[in-house]
Symmetry: C2
Subunit: 249 residues, 2 copies
DNA sequence: CGACCCATTGATCGGTCTCAAACATTGTGG
DNA sequence: CCACAATGTTTGAGACCGATCAATGGGTCG
């Protein structure tokens, strides 16, 4: 939530983000479970040379399904959702993308999904042609992108596991569990993790394959059970009882 | 189905498959929608140098979730399923892998899923260490693997779209639609496409997030509606009426 | 301060899950 | 080669859970 970010935090974040950065789980890396930088300083410099920093307002479309590719984006700040339309006109959200993620999966020179800013977004725009030229001659950069693709694949598989669960409450718990490692973007108050839900209920519903009503009911059921506590519409506090019952990803 | 493959077909197939081959949709390629070879002859030779051809009986485990990585497999013949166990002990099938696919997604040097042969399988075994050495110095091979990873990601997203549908019949139709491009492995009788379902009903159920009973009921509902016809347990004929109603991936 | 969008709550309906049993298929050993 | 055993598949009846339709309440931005 932007309102709780102080100016100096913005500055230091910007300082860190003067070049593209890709986060993910490395293929080889040891026991470090979390997301780590996949690019070296040199690679970030290479990418910076072809990148443009852009600001995207909430609700704006970054890329449209089936459109000819022009660029992919590296999120610096904010949240992006990618979705496709089902033939009965409903949105299905495929992923939420956070700082360190790449937006713009394509095949046959066309984007596969539509990407839309869920919050105001800052991102690096990487033109495809220049990017592919880089990839053509730099094996290390290539491996970084391969690692990122595998990580995305892994995330998508976790998403699948959520959709396979029947009860709304369990899907929500797995969703929170997936958001956990991204705690940097949340607020840490005392002991209990508080995580940010910048997206609307309808977006969560479209992500979890539920109706918005079911999301609402599920959230409040979890509150009644003492698993979570809600702080406004966009913050969830995970209570200890709930952590034990957390679903596996 | 092995029973319908003649000896000379086996020979010519083996001739084609004397080296590893990876199929997928290229990132750049033009309008050619289908799966195309992603490896050049030279790259296949490189891989052949480190590969061992192995035969895996039906039901055998290729790799176990959380196990330390040792090799990935390139399927030559047969079908492999990858799955994970949910905490309530159920299987969730993440993917069916066919000839031209790669088995062995890993992170932090550990496999993410369990892989099991659904039919007798022939595959190339590619030791990780040797493979990564190749990838370290060959950008073109790297791009091929990146393309394959993106294609897998795409397939997983289609799978997600299936899981998001509510009715069993629609999930089944999308499943058939996804299997369509793999028609090479099926039998083509006259005009109508017949596709092979080598896996058990329970596997389909675990893949589509349904009970085995729901799969059975859904299949027979489609038969009653004149959308498909069943030829034994493992072959489905798509009737024309059904093609028009097919779901979008 | 008002209007719009979003979130919540309620009641009914439909589809799948579950449990249980009959049936078919496959593979095996005598 | 046949019969049996073990799986795998189909079918049936009842309960559960979320979807849908509809209406109320709350927050935010102009």
């Amino acid at each position: 939530m932007t309102k709780i970010v102080f100016m100096k935090d913005v500055k230091s974040a910007a300082k860190e983000a003067r070049r593209p950065a890709v986060l993910g789980v490395s293929l080889r890396g040891g026991a470090a479970g979390g997301r780590v930088p996949l690019l070296t300083a040199a690679e970030r410099l290479e990418l910076a040379a072809i990148a443009t920093l852009v600001r995207i307002p909430r609700g704006a479309i970054l890329q449209q399904e089936d459109e000819k590719i022009s660029a992919i984006f590296n999120v610096v700040e904010g949240v992006v959702k990618t979705y496709r339309l089902t033939e009965d006109g409903k949105h299905h959200v495929l992923a939420f993308l956070f700082p360190g993620d790449l937006v713009g999966l394509y095949e046959n020179s066309r984007y596969l999904n539509t990407a839309e800013a869920v919050t105001p977004v800052t991102a690096y725009r990487l033109p495809i042609a220049a990017l592919e030229k880089l990839l053509d001659r730099d094996p290390a950069l290539n491996i970084a992108f391969l690692s990122k693709a595998c990580h995305e694949l892994r995330q998508t598989q976790r998403h699948e596991m959520m959709l396979a669960r029947r009860e709304a409450r369990l899907r929500l718990l797995m969703f929170f569990d997936m958001l956990m490692p991204r705690m940097e973007e949340g607020v840490a108050t005392g002991e209990r993790p508080i995580l940010a839900l910048p997206m609307r209920r309808a977006d969560i519903a479209d992500y979890l394959g539920l109706s918005a009503e079911a999301v609402s009911r599920g959230l409040h059921a979890l509150v009644r059970e003492g698993v979570i506590r809600l702080h406004g519409l966009h913050e969830v506090e995970m209570l200890d009882g709930g952590l034990a019952a957390r679903a596996t990803g």
